[in-house]
Amino acid sequence: MIIAIPAEADSLDSATCVSFGRAPYYCLYNTETESSTFMTNLAADSAGGAGIQAAQDLVDQRIGTLITFRLGENAAKVLQAAEIAILKALNLSVADNIAALQEGKLAPLEEVHAGFHHGH
């Protein structure tokens, strides 16, 4: 299974990014090969709908689980349609959040926010 985590930088010791849709990178960790790759988030600079596009890109990478601090409702709809498990990140590095997941320390993300559409 592939686990995705929004990351501030493209390394395992980087901080987990507080934003989902506008994170600069996603860490993709493969639990079978125990290897990680980093994907640049091409949606980060979108005028709108960044969360939707980022979720689409992660679904296309066939992730099974997302670890994130927060998630907008549109991105949540995309991920839920793809039946992806969504877990709440802890205030740890990317690597430590992966470890926390494997130790069963992460809880499901309970809340999604209404998003930040349209800066009137």
Partner: protein, 290 residues
Amino acid sequence: MATDLTVAVLSGKGGTGKTLLSVNLAAVAQKATYIDCDVEEPNGHLFFKPTILSERVVTIPKPVVEQSLCDGCRICTAACAFNALALIGKQLLVFNEVCHSCGLCTTLCPKKALTEVEQPLGVVREGQHGTVSFEDGIFDIGQSEAVPLIKALLRNKHKDLVVIDSPPGSGCLVSEAISGADFCLLVAEPTRFGAHNLAMVHELVQILGKPCAVLLNKTVEGAENPSEEYARSHGLSIMGSLPYDRTLATLTSEGLIASEELDHYHAFFSGLLETIRKEAADASDTHPQR
């Protein structure tokens, strides 16, 4: 001799007096159209209590997907500039609140799986209060993009004086509301926050190249007025000041139009309208092609 003139009244925040000024300017004109463009919270009707003559539902096209026709080619998801579509497995998801109704996805879909369906956005009303023609728009609860409603509201062409009661702020809704204005009257409160908001709308009207002036509202004699300081230091013409007055606040809280109730307010707003007409005429002489 009164000529055709569209005046927009705007401010960077709510509660500074946009509706007070717009309603009274329209009320003192012999013949005027008042248009409440603050469609998210219209309140001009509370003062004019107009006889509503027509009410029209404004709709906006949104893509609706017929899943059985979609073959998952992703042309639409790749084309959408607003990321309003996602394809998960064989399911095409449409996010209406992100969609800007540009029609690109429905045009490009090779399988005709996407079609545009008109969906209600709000209503536009027309009415009458004495010699004042009244128009407002009411945005439906739960909708997120009011610009098309303001466009629909401003579609009618008018003669004589038109007073546009703008939404608060300096964003898309305001840009749309004042797009056809010949003159912008900015309203500002005598506070730091008021001056900050004044600076924002001043920047907007400058970008749009609109002639403008400020009216200082709720002024207190002898007290500092950061908005006045801003206007003086930024070459913004001050068209007058309306002192803080408990009587005016009381009339307003009762939904009464001050210029219809008190002679000195009738005189004040008539004088203000005359000054606006003069400044707008001077501005159009200077920039005849605007």
